[in-house]
């Protein structure tokens, strides 16, 4: 196995609008287990950013601790990354976002990092509608510490050790919906067709965009008794429909069937188009999304795809009323009131 990627670039490699090739969005070579679902998600992020023509350095990638949180090393090598402490990525992302509202924030976390140790910070980042994409690479277990159940493991699901889980699982998509996330989706690491347009839409969304990606752990949680193994997930998948992401200025060329499709224009002018498989789904209704998640679960199916969107939401900066210029770009002229103001203040304190 080689740890060095060749620097060679074939001259005919396709380039995006900014002139970058797909390779410009790649990171270091992954050190995760071969076949890990997380690597597929990294690849989908690379693909989405390449297709969106995002300047790689305009992305900040953040994570907590765990297998999933290692992955930002493996994508977007020209972006700054921040591997913070366990379960605390949301607060670091909040601070980073406050300092510079002009960057794109990609947060990657796991089910342990989000649903257990980081549950508090996750819920509050959702509440604040922090403008970021938050991806949970959900495998139902703790990989780095060798396979303990996580809080998203289904009742009865058993990891490699064979012990079934007894505790009620936390459904992060439902939690996000209840707490007011303004973009909620679920996907499967093995379904790149679905995942790439979802990531593109999530990045373009202004506000908290949450994607729960079921991402099997090939080493500790991919056995027949696990509900987060490849086999089980593939057999129990149902999708809300197919998602098309149409960038701004590009015409919508596909014809969609009336009544079964939904078009959402994002603040940057791009369009998300959902060709609905289930006509029951109302993309602008939290209740509809929550009900469908439950209904499918009752049928032992995992509902994936775009579940909810509120494209008109206000993000944290809009709620706080902060300046359009990123706070970090303000200088002493804007920030320091000077001695004259102090003189007056001193006078009022005598």
């Amino acid at each position: 196995m080689t740890y060095i990627r060749p620097a060679f670039r074939h001259p005919d490699l396709p380039r995006n609008d900014l002139g970058f090739t797909r390779k410009d969005y790649e990171g270091a070579i992954s050190t995760l287990c071969a076949g890990c679902g997380h690597d597929s998600i990294s690849a989908a992020i690379v693909q989405a950013c390449f297709e969106l023509s995002i300047a790689p350095h305009k992305v900040a990638k953040l994570s907590g601790i765990g297998c999933s949180s290692k992955t930002p090393t493996y994508f977007l090598g020209n972006s700054h990354g921040f591997n913070s402490v366990h379960g605390r990525m949301p607060s670091v992302a909040t601070g980073a976002n406050l300092a510079n509202r002009d960057l794109i924030y990609v947060g990657v976390s796991g089910d342990g990092d989000t649903a257990s140790i980081g549950m508090g910070q996750f819920t509050h980042a959702v509440r604040r509608n922090l403008n970021m994409m938050y991806v949970v690479e959900n495998n139902g277990c703790y990989g780095l510490t060798k396979g303990q159940d996580s809080a998203t493991a289904d009742i009865g699901s058993a990891s490699k050790k064979g012990e079934p889980n007894h505790f009620e699982p936390i459904d992060l998509a439902s939690v996000a919906l209840q707490l007011g996330a303004t973009f909620v989706a679920r996907s499967f690491s093995g379904d790149r067709e679905q995942l790439v347009p979802l990531i593109k839409a999530a990045i373009s969304h202004r506000g908290f965009a949450f994607i729960d990606v079921i991402s099997p752990c090939v080493t500790f949680n991919n056995n027949p008794k696990s509900t987060k193994g490849y086999e089980h997930v593939r057999d129990h998948l149902a999708a809300t429909g197919t998602v098309d992401y149409v960038p701004f200025k590009q015409e919508i060329s596909t014809q969609y069937e009336q009544g079964k499709s939904k078009e959402v224009t994002l603040h940057d002018g791009s369009v998300v188009h959902l060709h609905k498989a289930d006509p029951e789904l109302d993309l602008n209704s939290r209740r509809s999304a929550l009900r469908l998640i439950k209904d499918y679960k009752a049928k032992d199916q995992i509902l994936t795809g775009l579940l909810f969107m509120d494209e008109k939401s206000q993000d944290l900066h809009e709620i706080l009323g902060t300046s359009k210029t990123p706070l970090r770009d303000l200088g002493a002229a804007e920030l320091c009131p000077g001695q004259k103001v102090l003189d007056k203040l001193n006078e009022s304190l005598r």
Partner: protein, 619 residues
């Protein structure tokens, strides 16, 4: 009977019930003395409660300018029947006890060695006001009026304060002045005024201001260019961010757009608050948080990350009495060690120790320069006493030519011109401080991965022991660099050539220490003092300990934490440092320091006096 006689030198204490509006009346009292040109030090002694429990307000007047707690009460203004029995006991013999005489005093509480001054406040209020709320509020103003007669406070000064406070609300001015008059006349008619203790106008205040340390710190954050504040409410630090909010609304609104040149987020807990500060600082903004002891415990993990990943972080710790929830509304200096070595693994942090509101202002602003220059957490350790009490201070000063020291940050042009690979943790200049880049600077150069795991000089993950050690050594080199950047200690030599006795103190022990030193000098005992203002310690701290045969260290905590820090970080034996400790939740007093130093120097104590002699003998 003895009568305490004193002009411009006494301690008066108000005993009130929390939530009855006494605070503004007491402030008016203190401010009136201040405006008569008299140095004062008011201190709130309050419970962790919103309404109903006893609360006290102690004001020391001292025309020589001694502002520390003196110890002992010359006059008690008792407005709280709950605490009366204890309050009466506290008065010094020959002192005065002011009470509401609408009801007769319980005879069991009487003392024959103090003077009782009854004013029927409740009756006076009932006669004057029909509304129950007015009766309560004006009762406070009436006792201030009575004190005006009893202590000879210039009545014009009081009416001036009322006019300032209620500017534009004529009705309120008239009614408050009326209440002051009711009290004044009653006292003047029924007692021989003034009492033995009284005030006289002086010019002993100069251009000084009256401000609490937390407000001064919040202004320091504004002047220091902070744009992001993330915090979780906790007494006694809350007013730091409250102050930041208040002054930002005045001073940081963009005049064109009306948008805010700052952001304040009330976090879900202290962990998130420090995480936000770290995220914002990593991304190039100046950010800070304020907390107290329990918050420090919660923030420790993140402080370790900021130390190891080298992210500027500014934290203001307004200390209160611990451990655990401790006495949340009482003062202490008990987070020294928790802050110095916060977090697991080998960590140490830069600390600042302000002693006055002006230093709270200056050191907060300086904390941002230091944090960005050194790329590490900087913790300013103040305490409840300084943070929440109005304190006399030299006016706040800002040099308009001053530039923010943003530290070593490569911009786009510098990265573009760079031919070699950018190494985030390379010690280019030999001072242990590497260069950093902000996210989003250059399309292909300067990006790196920030992590709490070990890494090489290029920020690439490694578990190589040699690379790890090299990095840890560089952090130590940076620590050495810090020794010359943090504020220097303040050394006061009693006489030319110095004394053989030294006293080391820090933070709010300053006023009481300097007063005790003066008192000792008057008795012929001269001592030198050193006030620690920053950590890591400057080499002059080592030298001071070396040069003095007997060294006292004053700590407002049980475990002599500063002494431990000195023993840990300087070449000094624990035997060489004699502790003076105060940890009952109230500020240390000059009397205590004086008495303990005297006791040791007279040999009442078994500890060695001359460390060098001892060392020789033990050889």
């Amino acid at each position: 009977m003895k009568r305490i006689e004193a002009v411009n030198d006494f301690v008066i204490k108000f005993a009130n019930v929390n939530g009855t509006g006494s605070a503004s009346a007491n402030n008016m009292f203190a401010k009136s003395l201040f405006r008569m040109g008299l140095p004062i030090s008011p201190k709130n002694i309050f419970p962790s409660n919103i309404q109903g429990l006893p609360t006290w307000y102690e004001v020391r007047v001292n025309e020589k300018g001694y502002l520390g707690r003196r110890g002992g009460i010359d006059m008690m203004v008792c407005m709280n029947p709950q605490s009366m029995a204890k309050d009466i006991q506290e008065v010094e013999a020959g002192g005065y006890f002011f009470y509401d005489s609408s009801k007769p005093l319980d005879l069991r509480m009487m003392r024959s060695d103090i003077h009782f001054i009854g004013v029927p406040l409740k009756d006076l209020c009932q006669r004057e006001y029909s509304d129950a709320r007015q009766q309560q509020l004006f009762r406070n103003i009436i006792y201030v009026g009575a004190l005006s007669a009893l202590l000879d406070i210039e009545f014009d000064v009081l009416t001036g304060l009322v006019s300032d406070q209620f500017r534009g609300k004529e009705k309120l001015i008239t009614s408050n002045v009326r209440a002051l008059e009711i009290g004044y006349h009653y006292a003047a008619e029924h007692y021989q005024c003034p009492l033995g203790i009284r005030v006289e106008r002086r010019d002993a205040v100069g251009d000084q201001i009256l401000i609490d340390g937390n407000t001064a710190a919040s202004l320091g954050a504004i002047y220091g260019g902070a744009t992001v504040a993330a915090w979780y409410p906790i007494t006694p630090s809350t007013s730091v961010v409250d102050g930041f909010d208040k002054y930002c609304k005045r001073l940081r609104i963009d005049p064109g757009s009306g948008s805010k040149n700052y952001a304040i987020v009330q976090a879900e807990d202290e962990l998130a608050a420090i995480g936000m500060v770290i995220g914002a600082s990593w991304n190039g903004a100046r950010a800070f948080t304020a907390t107290s002891g329990p918050g420090i415990s919660l923030m420790s993990e993140f402080l370790g990350l900021a130390y190891f990943a080298e992210i500027p972080t500014v934290l203001i710790d307004v200390q209160r009495a611990g451990p655990s929830t401790g006495m949340p509304t009482r003062t202490q200096q008990s987070d020294v060690l928790a802050c110095a070595y916060a977090s697991h693994g080998d960590t140490k942090h830069v600390l600042l120790f302000p002693a006055t509101p002006r230093e709270c202002f200056e050191m907060t602003a300086e904390a941002f320069d230091l944090a960005e220059t050194l790329q590490t957490p900087v913790i300013m350790l103040t305490d409840l006493d300084l943070g929440m009490n109005d304190t006399m201070s030299p006016p706040l000063v800002w040099d308009d030519k001053r530039q923010y020291q943003r530290g070593k940050v490569f911009n786009e042009e510098q990265l573009e011109a760079m031919s070699e690979r950018f190494g985030r943790y390379l010690d280019v200049d030999g001072d242990g401080i590497p260069y950093r880049t902000y996210p989003g600077t250059h399309p292909t150069k300067g990006a790196f991965f920030t992590r709490g795991t070990s890494r090489d000089e290029y920020a690439v993950y490694t578990e190589d022991g040699e690379a790890y050690e090299k990095n840890m050594q560089r952090l130590l080199k940076k620590w050495d660099t810090a020794k010359n950047l943090v504020p220097m200690p303040e050394i006061i030599e009693a006489k030319k050539g110095g004394s053989h006795v030294g006293v080391i103190h820090f933070g709010t022990s300053r006023d009481a220490t300097l007063e005790a030193v003066d008192a000792l000098a008057a008795e012929g005992i001269v001592v030198d003092t050193l006030r620690i203002r920053g950590f890591p310690f400057h080499k002059s701290v080592d030298a001071f300990i070396e040069q003095h045969d007997t060294v006292f260290v004053i700590d407002q905590n049980r475990d002599a934490q500063m002494r431990t820090l000195l023993v840990n970080e300087c070449l000094v034996s624990p035997r060489d440092l004699i502790s003076i400790l105060n940890y009952n939740g109230t500020p240390i007093s000059a009397r205590k320091i004086h008495d303990e130093i005297i006791a040791v120097l007279r040999g009442d104590n078994v500890r060695p006096l001359h460390k060098k002699k001892m060392a020789k003998e033990s050889v």
